[in-house]
Amino acid sequence: MSDYPEAVNIQAGAAKRRQAVEMGALALLVVVFLIVSFIRQNPFAEGANPGKAIGLIVAAGLTLIMFSFLYRDNPLFKIGENLYVGVSLGYTVVITWRDFLRPLVYQPLFEAPTAAALQSSLLHLTVPVALGILLLGRISRKHGWISRYAYAILIGWGAGVAIPLVTNSYILQQLTAAVKPLQEAIGPQAPAATTFSQAWLLGTAGPVLGALVAMIGTVAVLFYFFFSVEHKKLGSAVSKLGIWFLMVSFGASFGYTVMGRLSLLIGRVNFLLGEWLNIQNK
């Protein structure tokens, strides 16, 4: 995998010195982390719940390690990253077994409580189990093609189901919402306009204009995506309008998402300060 030399951008001697300094700093940070943890969350204190306290320390440690990537790649992050990959792998294996393979395959075939049950399991499971085993043929370099039978089924099913599905949820639902008389844009309880924002943004004139803008924008964006029309003359103007709409939309979506993502960061900060360091902020 990574048989490329890791990017080394400083001369060898300086690099070595720097590495030593970094390792020392990391070791120091780990020690500080452990000391702070044991002061704030002593798992061996009387009446403490050691499982919970150690859990908190581990969770806080991993949180800090993951954040350390923001500074730069470092040995602790490499450990954390690989551990995380491993844990998520193990988790998936266990869950796949518990939720799918055991109840769907193992129990019906090997723990069938009655003869009739076994018979019906065989009837329903022989083909998918065979396909599942064919899929594993991919491991062989030479006979990898036998796995095609398994995924041909999945791809065929996906492609067939997709047509009615997108017709309904992408085309019809969008058209239902988009094709409306302009009169309907005005809500039933449009407030009496006393201020600018009420009149123009929520009142009567605004929504009608908005509905028109939405219609023109949709057409322009659709036009931008035309593959077989060269963007020249009128076409160029319309597709440019399309781009402007796309840009406004992307900017708006970006701005809209900031809050949700910040909430996640606030959550982590709350965890580190409130739970790990146990600083109450009431």
Binding site: L70, Y71, M259, I266, R268, V269, N270
Partner: protein
């Protein structure tokens, strides 16, 4: 396109300055709680008014449909709702259809119970003033079952007390006897609760969801299937504002405001820098 070696030093530097300033903008507000001026949205106000209109002894069902990864946005909502219930004497029934949510649901109950003692001087007792039912599997089936027979779906509460004959559940045989259903969801359970819970039992329903999910709820709100909703951290802050008990939501909003303004200033600064250097270059070219 430049690589790391040739990339100007200040690129890495500005990057780190930005990270540090964002971190500070989020951490510092954790310690401050000034009064903020904002008007709660109408959707949140409707939820608040509904809870406010309940009388002591009425029941409110809260379904915890989020796990610790969405704690930041939804936990403050649970807390605000529970505090409101305890303040009013409304009996909250807390449950979850997800095994991963039990811990956080319990944490919310415990914290609100402690608050009730310290804030309103009330001694709130499990099984009398609130019920924590814990987790049962089945999701949609569970909802249907609760619609028929709530005590059958949860024969015991989280602490192993039988629900039959429990004082807090007096008069509740099914969802139909619950005065309001609130789904705090980070997963796609809102539609199910509407279809299998609220619509079937014909009870009003409200939700609290992550900011990302909230725009999808407007159709349900317009068709009155939801009486209102709390959207993201802002929703929690609005509710806390109405309740006049500041909490993590409001404090979170301070961090949000600071960080948003910081990002905007960063963008503006970058643009001013760009225009200024363009101007400078033009001048140099002229001279």
């Amino acid at each position: 396109m430049s690589t790391n070696q040739s990339r100007p030093r200040y690129y890495e530097l500005t990057r780190r300055i930005i990270y540090v300033s964002i971190a500070l903008a989020v951490i510092i507000p954790y310690f401050y709680n000034p009064k903020q001026d904002f008007s709660p949205s109408i959707e949140v106000r409707k939820v608040y008014d509904k809870v406010e209109s309940l009388s002591p002894g009425d029941h409110l069902l809260i379904s915890i449909d989020y796990d610790p990864s969405s704690e930041a946005e939804l936990y403050p909502m649970s807390l605000a709702l529970l505090r409101h219930c305890f303040k009013k004497g409304v009996i909250p029934i807390v449950m979850t259809p997800w095994p991963t949510s039990v811990g956080i649901a319990k944490k919310g109950c415990d914290e609100a119970v402690a608050d009730a003692n310290s804030m309103f001087g009330k001694k709130v007792v499990s099984g009398k003033d609130y019920v924590f039912l814990g987790f049962r599997p089945g999701i949609t089936n569970l909802m249907l079952k609760m619609g028929d027979n709530l005590k059958g779906a949860f024969d015991k509460d989280y602490y192993g007390q039988p629900t039959q004959g429990m004082k807090a559940l007096a008069g509740v045989s099914s969802l139909k006897n619950v005065k309001l259903l609130v789904d705090l969801a980070a997963m796609g359970t809102v539609e199910w609760w509407i279809a299998y819970g609220a619509d079937k039992a014909d009870i009003p329903m409200a939700t609290g969801t992550t900011a990302v999910m909230t725009p999808d709820l407007y159709p349900f709100y317009q068709s009155n299937q939801l009486i209102g909703f709390l959207g993201g951290l802002r929703g929690a802050a609005d509710y806390e504002k109405l309740l006049k008990i500041p909490g993590r939501g409001e404090r979170g909003m301070l961090a949000q405001s600071v960080t948003h303004v910081l990002i905007i200033l960063l963008i503006l600064g970058a643009n001013i820098h760009m225009f200024a250097s363009q101007l400078l270059r033009k001048k140099e070219a002229l001279s």
